[in-house]
Structures are given as structure tokens and as C-alpha cells.
């Protein structure tokens, strides 16, 4: 009786997942193994690994690598920016915390595209920053560079790292910091031995939340990369939606590879990151 009730209760969720997650995923997986020809052709029914071979060979291997490095760099930078921000927010007295929080989050209520476009306006050759720079004699193109893409990624995904960090840092008992100070710990020792071990779950959650969508991001590289920066995201988008020669099976193969890469990167990153943040390594076990 009870199992039946549980079964019925779980049914809508199971149906939802089956219909909107498993089925499309299976469809994409299936598509990725068939040639890119109209279904009337006889060779359309022969499965092939052609798309995967193509995706992993030049020039697409460079695209995969580019996505991975850009996301990794942007995620790391994001952590370095987000940590002080989260620390600042968490250390505000509760009376003014709401104000600072609102101040930080308000820009992110704007539409994603609008925010990225705003960066484009600021960075484009005739934009504010470039013209200011040219006044002091520096002539450089700010858009269409990997730097601009990284900047855009860091900016867009900042809240997803700040909020989990804020959640853990807010719960940090300040008396622990005082106790560490009392026992002779300077600021760096306090950060390493008290703050980081405490913030560990928030750091890991935040890094995952930021890294995963960055890997598939296509809007930021497209708008700030000026068509020069090709990532997995932009490739997949153009294979499906591109006006020239769309190739759904190839796009599907890239999508599958993206999933594999994100999964692998997460496993490696979590193992490595977890070990790096392990109490024995961060805690007091420093060898003299």
C-alpha cells in the first residue's frame, strides 16, 4: 500500500524526467551516430562514428581545448573575485546586509543579453574604454579577444559563486577567527586554517555552478569574441541554428562530447580540489 502510494507520488517527477530529460538526451545521442543526410537516403540508416572522429580531430580539438581553458581560467578568476565580495557581504552587520546584497544583485536582474551587450558597447573599438585608452596612446582592440570573453564570463557568472560562498561565510563563527588570532595566527594563517576549511562546501558548490554552464556558454564568446573565439557552445549553436550548412548529427556529437568533458572535468576538479581543501592540507598539519 505504502509502496504504491510512493510510486504514485513519484510518478509525475519520473514522467517529467523521462519526457523532458531522458527522451531528448536519447534522441541527441541517437542522432549523433547517423550521417547528416536526408532520411530518404539509404546510407542514413547505417550508424557511424564519423562525427566523433571529426570532432576530436583538427580543427575541432582546438575548439574543445579552447572551451576547457577559457572556462577553467574564468572559473578561477571568478573565485578570486567572488571570495572577497562574499566575505564583504557576509561581514556586514545584519542591518545593512540587505542593502549591500541588493546593491550587488541588482545588475543581475537585467537580462543576460543586455548585460553582455553592455560590455560589448564598453569594449568595442569606438567604445568608452578603448577611446579613453587611445587618448593616452594605447591603441588596442578589446573585443574579439580571449580576454574579453573571460571578462564577460567572470562577470556573468559571478553571482553563482558569490551566493554559495556568502551562505557558508555568513555562518562562520567570528570567535573562531579571534581564537586563531589569540593563538598567534596572522591573516594568512587564519584564512588557510579557519576560513577555507569552513568555506569548503560552498567553494566546491560554487565552482561547479559556474564551471558547468561556462563550458556550454555561446552567447558571451559570440558577442565579445567578435566571431573570432570559437568554443563548444558557439560550434553547437551554429551546427543547429547556423544559416550555412547546419549539421544536426555533428552538433549532437559535440553536445555529447560537451557532456562527457564537463563530467570528466568535474570529477578531476572535485578530486583535485577536494584534496587541496582537505583539512590535513589546509589545517594545522603543515610540516616545518
Amino acid at each position: 500500500m505504502k509502496t504504491l502510494r510512493n510510486f504514485i507520488a513519484g510518478l509525475p517527477a519520473a514522467l517529467w524526467i523521462a519526457l523532458f530529460l531522458c527522451a531528448p538526451l536519447a534522441l541527441i545521442a541517437l542522432t549523433s551516430f547517423f550521417p547528416n543526410v536526408s532520411s530518404q537516403a539509404p546510407e542514413a540508416l547505417t550508424p557511424t562514428l564519423h562525427h566523433y572522429r571529426r570532432a576530436l580531430a583538427a580543427p575541432f580539438d582546438a575548439v574543445l581545448w579552447q572551451s576547457l581553458t577559457l572556462s577553467a581560467i574564468a572559473t578561477t578568476l571568478c573565485l578570486f573575485v567572488a571570495f572577497p565580495v562574499a566575505w564583504f557581504l557576509a561581514r556586514r552587520p545584519s542591518s545593512s546586509r540587505g542593502f549591500w546584497m541588493a546593491l550587488f544583485l541588482t545588475p543581475f536582474l537585467l537580462n543576460f543579453l543586455v548585460r553582455v551587450y553592455a560590455w560589448f558597447v564598453l569594449l568595442r573599438p569606438e567604445g568608452l574604454i578603448a577611446s579613453l585608452l587611445s587618448h593616452i596612446g594605447i591603441n588596442t582592440s578589446l573585443t574579439s579577444s580571449r580576454g574579453a570573453v573571460v571578462l564577460g564570463l567572470v562577470y556573468c557568472y559571478l553571482p553563482f559563486l558569490v551566493l554559495p560562498l556568502f551562505a557558508v561565510l555568513e555562518k562562520l563563527d567570528t570567535r573562531l577567527l579571534e581564537a586563531a588570532r589569540d593563538l598567534g595566527a596572522g591573516p594568512i594563517d587564519r584564512l588557510r586554517h579557519v576560513v577555507l576549511p569552513h568555506a569548503r562546501p560552498g567553494i566546491i558548490a560554487g565552482l561547479v555552478l559556474v564551471f558547468v554552464p561556462m563550458m556550454g556558454e555561446y552567447c558571451v564568446p559570440r558577442m565579445l569574441g567578435g566571431g573570432m573565439i570559437s568554443t563548444l557552445g558557439t560550434q553547437i549553436e551554429s551546427q543547429f541554428l547556423g544559416s550555412v550548412k547546419p549539421n544536426w548529427p555533428f552538433g549532437s556529437a559535440l553536445s555529447m562530447l560537451l557532456m562527457v568533458f564537463v563530467g570528466a572535468a568535474l570529477i578531476v576538479g572535485m578530486r583535485f580540489g577536494a584534496r587541496l581543501l582537505e583539512p590535513e592540507n589546509v589545517g594545522a598539519q603543515v610540516k616545518p
Partner: protein, 363 residues
């Protein structure tokens, strides 16, 4: 004369517009168990935090072992603090918690084996052998307190500060830890400065007690001095259940009291005509059945009593209508409603000069 280890000189502290410490002067001697006693909000914790270096005094100086330490950072003061809720590092084992301060020692730097030896020594000192691998959350409150103590003692500070260390323990454990802490302090010969709001705890543990009230230091003295011969009405009121009797000095150590026939002997002499308040703790008052013509006794009636095992505490109503608390051995028993006589136990009485605007004790 014992060496002075800490001098607090004219320390004032202002938070916003409010002055929480109004010029505190006190000195603590080497090897002393010194308590800062006061109700919550009296400024005792602020004073402790100023001594530790977590707060800066608005004015005044802190002198540690003869050197001005007013502007020395927390890390530079040779003292450690046991926090109220212990503030143990939750992700570190007992062992790592105790070793934390040792690993950060710069001069002389301790080797790995020296640290291990000191940690074991500390574990033995607070009787926690066998628990070194546990995390703080796997320990009981009493055990956590011992870890906090061991962690603070491990770097061999010259001065140990304790912020309400018994606050989170239940009554039985508290008494046990009081005895243990006192014994530990004697054995190590270390100076302890202990903040508490519990009068009994301060009396039981301290060599000297400083009584703080509303940011002012009322009196510093041995437990006996502050309890039996308080310097002011405020200190006397700090230990509950004291009674006061208005009297007038007749020169020397003699006084007469409106409520009692005969002449009373005081512990100190006052000029003739001085109005004083005789201060009597429950155990300085006696209770007897009504006898004909007792020279120094006040007729009274028993209102309530509470049996406390070793003693019985009576609340009796005097002829004037006010009530006093009398503590008696449990042998003779009176019941509510009994007519009795309240007198003073033999020996000179402690008196305080009455304030100019007459207190309620004077009719």
C-alpha cells in the same frame, strides 16, 4: 610583595555614545586567581577583551609584565584566552586544536616532536588521553572545555584569561570543573583572570575578586573581604540577601540602633553622631524563641522558610513591617507564623557610613 603581572590604568571604553568602562584601575599579581565579577552588561567582558587585545581602550593603558602593551596586537601579548563557548576549531581533532598555537610559535620554533610531546603533556594535564583523534563535536561539554583549556595553556602563556568558562556547563559539572580549574592553577602557578557573573563561583575560586558595576570598579578584595566587609552598599547588594539596620554612632566603636535596645559593637570606629547602616548577612543574624527581656533582639514573625539541607533559610518580618533573611542550622525549627526574636551573632558588626540621602533602612 608579589610581582605585578598586569596593570590596568585608567581604562575607559566608549561604544558609540555609551561609556561602558568608566576609568578602571587594577593590578593583578603573578600567580593569582583573579575574578572579574559583575552582572551582564557591567563591562567585564569588554575589559577582558581589552586586556586580550581584541578591543582597544578609548583611553588608559594596559601594562603587561612591566611593559606597556596598550597597542600590542593580540598575537604579540603573552597571554591566551579561553572563550565562553570554547571556539574550538570544528574541522580539527583534539590533538590539532591543542597543537594549533604551538605550530605558530615563532621564537623559539618548536619541532614536530616537541609539539607532539607538549600536546601529550597537555592531554594528560586535562585528563583527555585517548580522545586526541576525536573532533570537537564528538565530545561532551565538559570535555570540550578541557580541550579549550589545554589549547590555551599549550603555548605556556604568562597569563590565562577565561571568559565565563563555566557558562555552558550544568551545575554538577560546574562545581567539579571549578575545583579542577583551581587545582590546575595552583599546580601551574599561573596567573588566571576569570570573568564571571556567578557570585558563588567567584567566591569559591578566586584569590581576589574585582566587582564591576555599570562600568565602574566598586571594590577589589579577597572573597572574604568583598563578602563579609563590602566597601559600599552596592557591593553588599551584589551578594543577595544582605540586611541593613540604621544606627547612630555614639563614639568609638559603639552604636545604637533604633530597632534594638542596648549598645552594639562595630568592627570599625566612626565619629560620634555618624549615621551608619549595619550590614548583616543571613548567617550573621540569629533566630530564637521569644524570651523575656533579651537585650539585643528584635521581635519578629516567621513568614516563610526554605529547607536547604545544611541550613534553613527564614524570611522573617520585623515589627517595622520589613523582612530580613536569616540562615540557621537545621536543628531548631520554626514554622511560618511563629513569633521569634532576631538578633546579631556575637562579634563586632560590619557597618557602612549611610549615604547622605537616607536609604530605606532609616525611618
Amino acid at each position: 610583595m608579589l610581582e605585578t603581572i598586569l596593570d590596568v590604568r585608567g581604562v575607559r571604553k566608549r561604544f558609540g555614545g555609551q561609556e561602558v568602562l568608566k576609568g578602571i584601575d587594577l593590578s593583578v599579581r603573578q600567580g593569582e586567581f583573579f575574578s572579574l565579577l559583575g552582572a551582564s552588561g557591567c563591562g567585564k567582558t569588554t575589559l577582558l577583551r581589552i586586556i586580550a587585545g581584541f578591543e582597544q581602550a578609548s583611553s588608559g593603558a594596559i601594562v603587561l609584565a612591566g611593559k606597556d602593551a596598550t597597542n600590542t596586537p593580540v598575537q604579540g601579548r603573552n597571554l591566551n584566552l579561553v572563550f565562553q563557548n570554547y571556539a574550538l576549531f570544528p574541522h580539527m581533532s583534539v590533538q590539532e586544536n591543542i597543537a594549533f598555537g604551538l605550530r605558530l610559535l615563532r621564537s623559539p620554533k618548536m619541532s614536530q616532536s616537541e609539539i607532539a610531546a607538549r600536546v601529550n603533556e597537555m592531554l594528560a594535564l586535562v585528563r583527555l588521553e585517548g580522545l586526541e583523534k576525536r573532533l570537537p563535536m564528538q565530545l561532551s561539554g565538559g570535555q570540550q572545555q578541557r580541550v579549550a583549556l589545554a589549547r590555551a595553556l599549550a603555548p605556556h602563556p604568562a597569563l590565562l584569561l577565561l571568559d565565563e568558562p563555566m557558562g555552558a556547563l550544568d551545575a554538577g559539572l560546574r562545581q567539579e570543573m571549578q575545583r579542577e580549574l583551581r587545582a590546575l592553577q595552583r599546580r601551574l602557578g599561573l596567573t588566571f583572570i576569570h570573568v564571571t557573573h556567578d557570585q558563588d563561583e567567584a567566591l569559591a575560586m578566586s584569590d581576589r575578586i574585582a566587582i564591576l558595576h555599570a562600568g565602574e570598579l566598586l571594590q577589589v578584595g579577597t572573597p572574604e573581604e568583598v563578602y563579609a566587609t563590602p566597601a559600599s552598599r552596592a557591593v553588599a547588594d551584589f551578594f543577595p540577601e544582605a540586611s541593613f539596620f540604621a544606627a547612630t554612632c555614639s563614639g568609638g566603636k559603639m552604636a545604637s540602633c533604633a530597632e534594638i535596645a542596648g549598645v552594639l559593637e562595630l568592627a570599625e570606629s566612626f565619629p560620634a553622631g555618624t549615621r551608619v547602616d549595619i550590614h548583616a548577612r543571613p548567617e550573621r543574624l540569629t533566630l530564637a524563641g521569644v524570651r523575656p527581656e533579651s537585650p539585643t533582639a528584635m521581635p519578629a514573625r516567621v513568614r516563610e522558610l526554605s529547607y536547604l539541607g545544611r541550613e534553613v533559610r527564614y524570611i522573617v518580618e520585623l515589627a517595622s513591617g520589613r523582612t530580613v533573611v536569616v540562615s540557621q542550622g537545621a536543628r531548631t525549627r520554626f514554622e511560618p507564623g511563629d513569633a521569634v526574636e532576631v538578633g546579631f551573632a556575637t562579634g563586632p558588626l560590619h557597618a557602612l557610613a549611610a549615604p547622605l540621602n537616607r536609604a530605606s533602612a532609616h525611618p
